[in-house]
Symmetry: none
Subunit: 200 residues, 4 copies
């Protein structure tokens, strides 16, 4: 994508530089459309038009429409669900689950559900999603669990992976499967149950 210069600058920047304005407009337009309709109902020309850009420019920087939509999400979802901030590590884990539930119910959450749907069957996109979106969040959750273990809130032998999946899996399940709402009461109950299970 970009960056590339980095290191030793193999060949400065010949020619007209990429319009960052255009890039921003495209991602913004993509996100706007994602709020309205699912990925397969969005066309490259719609994005281009909405962004005031030619389709050629769009395709110069992204191989496929899907990658545009994906990057648009990443850009906007920099925040994503907020990790817990207050209290002990255990309380912060609990808060994280509640924040995740809240985020899933938000517009961003709805948009992200569409992206996750579109990822099924495209391994490259899935790898991107895991690496760029999910992995960092998972990592911070893992740290929190380890802190909680260190603080004596969780059993010493606790498997962090298992705990995290037990904590967020049920929320994800309702979010994507849609059989029931991801409300606060549910998030609270799930977090209580999961944390109690591994509590000292």
């Amino acid at each position: 994508m970009k960056a590339k210069t980095a290191t030793a600058a193999p060949s400065k920047t010949q020619g007209r530089p990429r319009s960052d304005e255009a890039r921003r407009q495209i991602l913004e337009a993509a996100y706007t459309l994602l709020k309205e309709k699912p990925t397969n109902a969005i066309t490259a020309q719609q994005i281009a038009e909405e962004a005031g850009v030619s389709t050629a420019t769009l395709y110069r920087w992204w191989k496929t429409k899907e990658k545009v939509l994906f990057e648009a999400c990443l850009e906007r979802l920099k925040t994503g669900p907020l990790p817990g901030k207050k209290g002990s590590p255990g309380a912060r884990l609990h808060e994280s689950a509640c924040n995740s539930a809240k985020w899933m119910r938000s517009e961003s959450g709805r948009v992200m559900a569409r992206i996750i749907g579109g990822i099924q069957g495209d391994e490259e996109l899935r790898r991107s999603y895991l690496a760029k979106f999910y992995a960092p969040r998972r990592q911070s959750q893992r740290r929190l669990v380890e802190e909680a273990i260190a603080a004596g809130e969780l059993k010493p032998g606790t498997n962090p992976e298992l705990l995290i999946d037990a904590l967020f899996g049920p929320l994800f399940f309702r979010w994507i499967n849609g059989h029931a709402p991801v409300d606060q009461a549910f998030a609270d109950a799930v977090a209580n149950a999961a944390l109690r299970m591994f509590a000292r």
Copy 2:
């Protein structure tokens, strides 16, 4: 569409009857294609050609390509993940989770993941999925939980919904999110944890 049987049925069915052969071929072709590629890479003409049928016939019976693919799945996935069969209700719940994990790793599971992905952003399709595929399975799981409660294996106040989501949510999470494999050890651990949590 037409009146079909419905109300007063003025007279069975005049004219040539629908070719069940065609219907079967279409669904089979759709499923075959689903095994190879994600829904958005499958075209109505591919299905029709593979089935040796005209697109007109396809569209006579299904409004959209997506509904064909969806129905093709339902047809084939009559089985889906098998519920537990042996032992106490609790053991059967545990077995159900393991069977689900096994099914998620199977070809059927991979196909279904694509369908669930395609469902995001199409509420009608999601309703169909929930009503025709998910609800019956959920219902049988709920019954199992109630039996377990009645048998004294689970706490009297156990919330069946919470337990089921705690039991299958983490599996679903790994299946769709893809951050880790849905292997047997994981299924076993999750089932143990969830059931222990609500055990008497």
Copy 3:
């Protein structure tokens, strides 16, 4: 009635028959545009839109835009420059030259000049032009020359090819090269000169 014999004849006309309406509209639209601008300023989509047809339909029947324009001309220029009708064979040749000049100055003539221009460098198109447009006219001119020889108006050893090129070449020259108008006085003078040259 069709009779059709029923025997082998597997071909017949399967499927929806080609819309002759569409074909006509496309050729008409192409011709309309040719009156306004040169071939390289006409786009396939313009033709399609003007014809109220999709570009797919256009490309289904013609490989390239140029072939559409060419066929549109042939269709319309069924008439082309009229051969002489009255008087002796020699007088008819003279009249033919004058009619050609008149036609070259007409709208049809201007359109045809564009087609002939577009033919340079595309041997396939040139062959089509020669075979379908030019050859029949040349043939009738040749006949006329032979009649004139038989009638004793022209020298017995007259080379028909040479005479025809001498008669129409100068008109064609001014028409395509454009250094002077192809007016009636010029056509008359050329015809007089050419015919006198080979006169008995």
Copy 4:
């Protein structure tokens, strides 16, 4: 265009001087491409790439691609068909016709046919063609005719325009229309006929 170098003003001229190298390369590249394909198959980027030049440079000096191709021809065709050199004015006219035929069969002739084709429907280009390419040659032919009249080889009342068109028209006709080759025998026969017609 621009002031260009003008006579002897290599002096000050702030900034980098125009690369005459670039101009030459562009025209050469354009001509090279013209030998291979018709004008409408040649793109501005092809010319630029072949010339090792940016398209911006190309467009700085020429308004359109067509003008580049046109000028490339003019540059190379400085020679064009050679006028007759030896003998009486009449003999030189005859030789001119034969030289024209020879040139039409040459590579230059084939390239020029494409340019003339491209000129149909673009009046500005046609004017350029007439003024810069055709007019000088026509003028020298006219002079030759007048000399022949003065020398008594042609009838006193001979219309030079008519004679020139009668002499070169048939060659042009075969060249552009393509119904027969512009061979030497034909050129010879046409020249004989035309000159005899107006001979004293």
